[in-house]
Symmetry: D2
Subunit: 386 residues, 4 copies
């Protein structure tokens, strides 16, 4: 059995990156419901992210989305983060919200559109230089809606060319993270639809190119922990986008739909040597109907709980049962950790760090929700389009 001391130490150093856009309004194609107190700027998003970190102690960085978080002075933004105990994290590019991108960005049939898209990606590396961010996360909405609409293979060639140009631009300590997604917004083909495609591209690019696993981006029934184990074995796992899904890319709170799956994923991370800063653990969620800040706190806690359970697995006992071919005993070792109530353990970890053991209650008591609802009046609330 792992020692409690080592488990606590591992939990105390956990770092979960929260995404700036999760603090803004979001919705489905049917409706975006505005919520009171939603930030109106990248600075206000950082203020909210700081509350998550203040109450959980494990959310020290914030991912930015360009152009949604575009500012004139990134040094000022970084300073604003630092003043609240935060750092700016991964830079997320956006090449899907301009009218030019109707038929794609880096895979578009028109070279001029591709040029525009690549230029945006290169500009994102400029932002990284300014913010000190390590990772450039690339998600492409590229794809087609109808059979025949475009040439599947030619689009791969265009993609490879774009990635290569961006990769070349990276600094020594910068990385390119390539995200795959099963479908949406494209409905017939998606140009990076699965881990195999992302892996094949990253392999050709080089060591600084890694794959992002978004837990909501798979076909029904896909065994995500298998992919995690495989990518770690290939040294190609760069990051997670955590969220939950029942159906498609639902972007619900991490751990809300299938907490057992999240636990299994975290176990493969731990077992495969991925529980290090080389793996970026990020949230990527949409809080369409629930209050955003406490939803993010809850998500962070859910990831913590899954991690704690994964760390508690009796790996020697597991290995012994596996080697002996005892199916039920091996499964029981895993379930024993999963069935453990780790909330007291995590409360201890928090208390030992001087935090309130119950982050949700602490946030509710803090008055922050009322304050921002009152203060953030006027101006345009942040959302996916801004």
């Amino acid at each position: 059995m792992p020692s409690l001391t080592s488990v606590k130490a591992a939990l105390a150093t956990q770092a979960i990156e929260t995404p700036s856009w999760a603090y803004g309004n979001s919705g489905t194609r049917f409706k975006v419901f505005a919520q009171p107190g939603v930030p109106r700027s990248a600075f206000e998003k950082l203020d909210d992210a700081a509350r998550v970190h203040a109450h959980t102690g494990v959310a020290p960085t914030v991912a930015l989305h360009i152009p949604w978080d575009k500012v004139d002075d990134y040094a000022a933004l970084a300073k604003h983060a630092e003043d609240q105990g935060l750092r700016l994290g991964t830079i997320n590019s956006n090449v899907f919200q301009d009218d030019d991108y109707r038929l794609g960005s880096v895979c578009h049939p028109d070279a001029a559109v591709r040029r525009k898209a690549i230029d945006h990606l290169l500009a994102c590396v400029d932002v990284m230089d300014a913010t000190g961010s390590r990772d450039l996360k690339l998600w492409f909405a590229d794809g087609t809606n109808y059979p025949g609409q475009d040439d599947i293979r030619a689009r791969q060639d265009r993609l490879a060319e774009a990635l290569s140009e961006v990769y070349t631009r990276l600094g020594d300590d910068q990385r390119l993270l390539l995200e795959y997604k099963f479908f949406e917004p494209a409905f017939y083909t998606t140009d990076v639809p699965d881990w195999g495609t992302a892996y094949a591209h990253c392999l050709k690019l080089g060591d600084k190119a890694k794959v992002v696993v978004d837990t909501g981006h798979h076909a029904p029934g896909t065994n995500i922990e298998f992919i995690v184990a495989s990518l770690l074995r290939e040294n190609k796992l760069g990051a997670f986008d955590f969220n939950s899904r029942f159906y498609a890319d639902d972007d619900l709170m991490a751990g809300a739909a299938d907490p057992f799956q999240l636990f299994r994923i975290m176990y493969e991370v731990v077992r495969g040597g991925g529980y290090t800063p080389d793996t970026a653990f990020m949230l990527d969620q949409c809080h369409n109907i629930e209050a955003k800040i406490p939803a993010i706190i809850r998500s962070v806690m859910n990831v913590q709980e899954a991690t704690a359970k994964a760390l508690l697995i009796d790996r020697e006992g597991l290995s012994a049962a596996q080697t002996s071919g005892d199916v039920l005993a091996a499964n029981a070792v895993l379930m024993d950790a999963y069935n453990t109530d780790v909330r007291p353990l995590l409360a201890d970890v928090r208390s030992e760090r001087g935090l309130d053991p119950d982050p949700i209650s602490a946030y509710r008591r803090s008055g922050w929700a009322d304050r921002i609802a009152t203060e953030r009046v006027g101006g345009a609330q942040a959302g996916w389009g801004a």
Copy 2:
């Protein structure tokens, strides 16, 4: 074998309703790409729908969406339709785009919100009285995103109560069409998620309540033609919303993703006695990236082709093979019809009615696309939010 004369006669009287909203802008949660020439009013939508009917001859009615197509004077709207050889069709309610509906409409935990939603539905019946529409189509975005969020069963009770009130309000010749949907925009529960739920409610309401089958609203792998056959057997099939999907509710052009499925569905319609005006054959699509009017023309043609193939099935031969238990022979009879190229037959049907045999080319030659792109400048384009 069916006589060619009877097949042609059946095809000549086909009626496919096009939805006003398909002429407006649409998109995904990531982006709505605006297109030139998109209508700015319900009147202009009718102008476009008239082009579809002019070129195909089988799209005589237009479904309206309230409040997107709300006008002060429905008689004037009906007159505008009539002047172009159209009629106003099904009234679609919308109880999902008001901030009050964040947690549902007729299933909302708050009685005041339910009242507001029901009042809107009743107002839609008022519109029906004004337009002479037969059908009220009800689709509810109601559901929950998280386990525990609301009480599944209580929501069914609220739904039943609302439906009952609306049903009571219907005139003698009016019908209530209840649509089900697997998921989206709700991601944990949907209050009318499957045909069983819709059927159970309609059964209790009475003969004027029927089920709508939207071809994009099912779980992966669902056999839709089985549902069609079952609903016809129960005399509860009211209407179709045709569209195509590869993944979720993609709302692509009918017949674009799985033309064989559309053919099988149309065969069950024909075989089950559903090829009559009692079944409303509607399109419900989103042309996010392709030109809207020709996409609708193409969709209408795809439905026609599937219908023609279904009508061509040698039903006596099929029945003989089925009865004898000859699996391959029975399948071959079906495939023989499916593999037939029915485009010449449909070209004949059009020519005999004085139409151009090639509706797409005729539309392209008509200059309508250029004309609306030039004329419809200024004002707000129609879309899901307007």
Copy 3:
């Protein structure tokens, strides 16, 4: 919060029926792996089932499968059960393993085959009379593999006719339980593919006809607890077949694939008034690669744990949060119960009843596995075909 006394009382009276066939050999189409000590008769199956009940205290009945468990003297079989503290439970019919059933049983195009199948079902009611069983469980492998192979609607008519004849034969205290299944062994249509179809048939049959929910028999992504809530609301839920799946009808141990789902299902059972003897809680599993008896014990325990968590939900708190529209608070009430480690509570329940608190260890220590491996030599092991 529910009182611990009431929760314990509810748990102490739980009854989970185990299926005779789960004690025999099973496998996939690729291979059946024989296991040492597997029963060679219905009597030996009861001996194994008695061990499960002895160690758990909540598995007092055993479901039989006819003809797999056909014996000359059912009174003797019942006596054999009674001697070990068991009772004979649900009678499961089998109309899928005779060469005559290649194209179906009660839905077969040939009336002679249908007659044979119905006669078997009627004979199963004779068995019920002899065993004192309350429930006849009907699962049909009927369906088609190819479009056109048979007439979907005619098959429904034949099904209705068969069900009606069997229903008429039932005694006053007997019930007909109709099971649905998404697919397999039929691959194009299945004649009872979903709860809607089963519900529609049961509704016409009458009060003694109820629907069976097998947790492995749904399309990907289906919300099973919604179906449970709906069937309870309609007073049409008759029984569960518990098992787990990751992909199709995998028939793994209950609670092994998605323990959170099992908890949500049990919550709807409790909330909907279904936690009574009127609902039959059965296992239906295949232990292809793991030891069978401990796998069944583990499955029983998994159902117990899910039930305990469901009973622990603070329903007043949940209701208050739901009514107020507080999404996060309502979800938190549910998760609070789910995250509780209920194993100590169940150990207490067992100890209070004089049982070993750890059924798996107790079984391992009992020496039963070695004993049957030694004693049950010669003869044919029980399996799906015998």
Copy 4:
């Protein structure tokens, strides 16, 4: 537009390999229905395969399955094939039907089992040397049923080691074809579950290792033609196993469930330069309820028809529409070919080669079915277990 001459020439040289096991009995886990006239030996399977080739002209080779088709004298078997105008084709290994393989073969935790499995694979290469077969097709049933049962990553290491040993044994003109499968018979993890895993292994092995695409082995909604295009781009597509599915790995006749998909796949083959002998086009089907030989003939014809349509695509027109970004026009070019009735064209191709234009009728008239039903009496029919 492609010239009809070139299309006919391409169709006349098509080669589709039929699998020996498709001529034997097969079924689901529920039942294997025996059919009259089914072969009792590898020799009789070849006799049946010869009928398929005689009537279609495009099925010149037969895939063997070891040990199902194990014979003492492969030269005699090859001669038997040759005498009927056939050649022996791909060798399929079987490491899933021995009791030792309960927990896997080359991924088994026990080194002794792995040794046994690898030895079988090496013995298959010996068979290839004897038969002159080019390809060794590897499909592994390996996987786990329960979380924790075995170590996901260690199993990948074992797999890599086994593949490496087999690859080293290959002759200069021999290839290793690695097949992936989403699930079944393993239900939690499968050791080669997707194209990415197969690709990563083949990449490390070398140029003689290629990936097999079985059209029934994907998650719901997977875009198979995208995978085909990607593998061709990477020069890693080795072979197809054609069959149809509605749900899981249903193994129905190719083209029976989604003929449009088969057409799209064949288009990517043609477009990607894969329509050459370097790609092995094989059937892998189970004719559980339909007559086997005519079902295979029908499958071959379905592949021919999909190929013909793919060859008929106006690629210049398609490319022009794609480049100009005209979504509807590009889709229309594709659909124009798909909607063409190519049966007359294929009848011509057959007639020009001296074959009956209607292979199914010719087979029915040949009397072969009656003859084998009469002659093949006594002995054990071939099936998956023999």
